[in-house]
Structures are given as C-alpha cells and as structure tokens.
C-alpha cells in the first residue's frame, strides 16, 4: 500500500487508483500502412523497466481522471506526478 498524489484531488490511497501501463506511447498516424509486426509492436510490446518508469494511472475511484507518473518499479517510490499532455518533469 502506498499513497499517490492525484494532480486533481490530492493525496489518496493507492487502492483508489488503477495502473494504465507505460506512458507516452504514440499511436501511429496511419495504422493501415503498418505491417502486422509493427502493429503488434505498438499494441503489445512494452519496456517493462525495473527502475524509474513513466506510467499512466487513473484515479478510478475518485475523479476518474487519467494522469502520468514517474515511478520506480523496484521500490514503488513516486518521483513525480503530472497531467496528461504535459512533458515528464524528469527524463
């Protein structure tokens, strides 16, 4: 259990949130022009980093807004939280 600082509601328990996987994956502009392998790469393949990762999260049991988070997957330390459309505060 850990606390997440929702950019809209403030600090809440992790049980109110749901994880949405890796962030900043850009959807191809012309999906019909991609091969099956390229489409599968976009759709399924993720980095699955052990360490600091940029992730999407949803405050599912609160304001229901999506936002981004910089989280260390090995110790659950949250380095930053930022809104959708904003650039990550750290690289």
């Amino acid at each position: 259990m850990f606390l997440i600082n929702c950019p809209y509601c403030g600090e809440r328990d992790q049980s109110e949130f749901s994880a949405g996987g890796e962030a900043h994956i850009v959807r191809p502009k012309q999906p019909t022009e991609l091969s099956d392998d390229q489409w599968a790469e976009f759709l399924f393949m993720r980095k699955n980093i052990k360490g600091v990762q940029l992730e999407r999260w949803n405050h599912a049991h609160g304001c229901r807004k999506w936002f981004n988070m910089v989280r260390n997957t090995s110790d659950d330390k949250i380095h930053a939280v930022y809104k959708m459309g904003e650039k990550p505060p750290i690289k």
Binding site: G10, S15, G62, K65
Partner: protein
Amino acid sequence: MLNYNSPIMDAKNYSGIKISVTESVIKINLRGKNRDFITKIGKELSIIPPTDPNISSGNEKLNILWLGPDEWLLYSNDKIDFKNNNSLEDRLFDQISKVKLGSVTNVTDHWVMINLKGDNVFELLSSGCPFNFNDFKNSKGAVTQTLLNHIDVIIHNKNINDLNLFVRRSFSIHLWSWMNDSARFI
C-alpha cells in the same frame, strides 16, 4: 418517465450514529469545460460551481459538489416535487445542453442518498474506507469520492457530524447492510 423510487426507505439508530434514507431528492450531473459553462450555471442557479477540488457550494435549496475539473453533482435539499419534478432539469438542459455549453444529466435514480448523523459517523466510515478523514471532518462543505467497503461513494460533509453519502443504486442495499452491520460494533 423516471421511476423515483428509492430501494431503501429506512432509518436506524446506533450508538452515536443515525443512518437514514428518506425520499428522493433531485440529483443532476453537470459536465462542462469552459468558463461560459460555469457562468451560465451561476446565472441559472445563483451558485457558482466550485473550481477548487474536494469542496462544494450551495444555498438553502441546492448544493453543487465538485467531482472533477469538469464535472459536478447538483442535488437539492428538498424532496422531489412530483408535480413539477423536471423543471430544474429542463431549464438547465435548455440553457446548457441545447446550446452545447456542456451536458446535463438527471441522475436522481442513479444515486441513492444516505444521511449519516452523530458523533461516531467517522468511526463507521473509517472501518471500511481508505480515505483519511482527519481534515475532512472539520471542513464544512468538503466533498470526497472514495471507496467504502470496496464500493464507490461520494461523501458530502454538510455539517459537523452530518454527512450525505451517495452510492450507486445497484450497490445501495449491499452498502446499507454493511453499514448497519458495522455500526453495531462501533
């Protein structure tokens, strides 16, 4: 025509807690993003929807709860006037939805409002809720959306130790049973 029937019509008293569901009050979900939307709501209802999170605004007849940066719940303090029950919704629909400023949805039958009163209400809520009520319980008008016994709820701190809790109709009987069961052990 909506069927304004609450699945629960009951009131229970426990040590320092009174839980009750009375007749339906009108509940309207408001969604809009621009400043004109907020201005129009303010003109129509004489209440400005709060833009700061986790608070509410209201007068003697209506309350507007902040649910998100572009979403609010409007509910009345008075019971539904069955002869004239759509006038508020119709007025807002004409002024907001029809001119595409935002959306107005009647959710009277979607949410069941449970009133909790007494010195031990936060003891009851804390027994099944991950939310920290330390600041909330002393802030009149505070609003939170959280989980209670794993069920989504909206809690409005109307007065000190006087809360209105909104739960989805389909979960209301289960939550009502849980609250009554838990209140016995507070």
